[in-house]
Symmetry: C2
């Protein structure tokens, strides 16, 4: 059985900055098993350690994560509303599937909403916003893109910093709802990105271009050039989407042909 379950079990407080959608602002020790397992499942879902379509059996999860089924039900219920898992009465939970149409929908809306949020952030952002962008960009650029996909920790680290950078761009947007939606879309897109990263031929040119785009967006945002910033951001998203879609079709084909797991 592929070790999709034995992911880092450190009881370290869930640094929920890994996800754009902030989970719990107030950080007390008010943590419960249900909250914890929710964060862990969420991470594993987005990272793709739990495969799309896979059944999430209670006994299995209980053994893998070392928690009872009561906290599990709680966590899975929330993940249903997060659209990360599906539920059918008396038939249990499954990992939400991926689909090309969903990917298209997701990306189109993400581009639109993120650019919208970026515009608002540029209009209202203060010095702290600018500083945070530069800090996040610096941290991102300092993180080498892991050449081995097997290196989960490195991938997680890069994804987290990438997420954080994109979040910093729009953080000054004055609409919590818009931020929430952008976060949800970002999380879901990450699922696709990480599902296909296995075959991502890390073309030097592509990486170079992506880095360039990050820097350009940051600079344009801080220079309050909304037109340029949103244009580059949209271009950046479009580029990512195209790469993901290209690889997605490849992965999808190879999965359909190969043995089912």
């Amino acid at each position: 059985m592929p070790s999709a379950y034995d992911q880092g079990t450190s009881l370290s407080r869930a640094e929920s900055a890994v996800s754009l959608s902030s989970v719990a602002p107030g950080d007390d020790d008010a943590t419960t098993l249900g909250i914890e397992i929710y964060a862990r499942l969420r991470r594993d879902l987005i990272a793709g350690h739990l495969k799309p379509g896979e059944r999430l059996r209670f006994r299995q999860l209980s053994a893998a994560y070392g928690v009872g089924i009561a906290p599990l039900r709680e966590a899975l219920s929330r993940l249903v509303s997060d659209q990360l898992v599906r539920f059918e009465g008396h038939r249990g939970y499954t990992v939400a599937p991926l689909s090309l149409s969903d990917l298209h929908d997701l990306c189109a809306l993400r581009t639109e909403l993120s650019c919208n949020a970026l515009r608002r952030a540029i209009a209202r952002g203060d010095e702290d916003w600018e500083a945070e962008i530069l800090a996040a960009l610096h941290r991102l650029e300092r993180t080498p893109l892991p050449h081995s996909v097997e290196d989960r920790k490195a991938v997680d680290e890069w994804e987290q910093r990438h997420d954080r950078f994109h979040y910093s761009l729009i953080a000054a947007c004055d609409s919590p709802w818009l931020l929430h939606f952008c976060g949800a879309l970002s999380d879901h897109f990450q699922r696709y990105r990480r599902a296909v990263i296995v075959v991502t031929s890390s073309s030097e040119a592509l990486l170079k271009r992506v880095r360039e785009q990050h820097r350009t967006v940051a600079e344009a945002a801080i220079a309050r050039d909304a037109e340029r910033a949103t244009a580059v951001l949209a271009e950046h998203f479009q580029g990512s989407v195209e790469v993901v879609i290209r690889n997605y079709e490849e992965v999808s084909r190879s999965l359909s042909a190969g043995n089912g797991d």
Copy 2:
């Protein structure tokens, strides 16, 4: 076998549509207590029968709804992700509060997203879409606006038809994600609307104007006049928001039940 990558993702809005999947006796057995209580709580949350800020104690809910705490936890967990309920570890669940800033945010984004969705629907809608709009409009116009707020059933009926009409306008939009977000915002706005409806001086002129707007939007949409349709829809939303805000301040003042604004 088709892989899990090719299955569609349906962002079903069935739960928030008040009527369709209610407790139908005997036919669909795929329902569980958790699902049922989720729908009921959701309805009561949106209808305002559960007051903003109110603590949701398990014993209390268990007695009131006649279910155990296991299904309750499941339902409440989902409602947390729906933003209708708040949760603090070891301190229980509370009804999500209302606030003026949230109301503003909500409405601004709803207008934007709904108009966006309406544009897409107008561009892609077919005859069935047109027919459904007319049907929903007819049913809405046939429903008298209840003069007594005490008449829950009548209010529910009107709200449901109103919801259905607005949904029918954008249903042909090809973006499940956008529809999902519009639905969430619509549900949350309904919470505000119904919270303040108690003092809504049902001005004849206002009602007349609202009806007019509904009809105009429907006609413009079917005539594929996107500019006019979105303009009227935005105006319609703006009008609702203003009424709600005016009454909200009144209610907020009279209650002065310390809610954070």
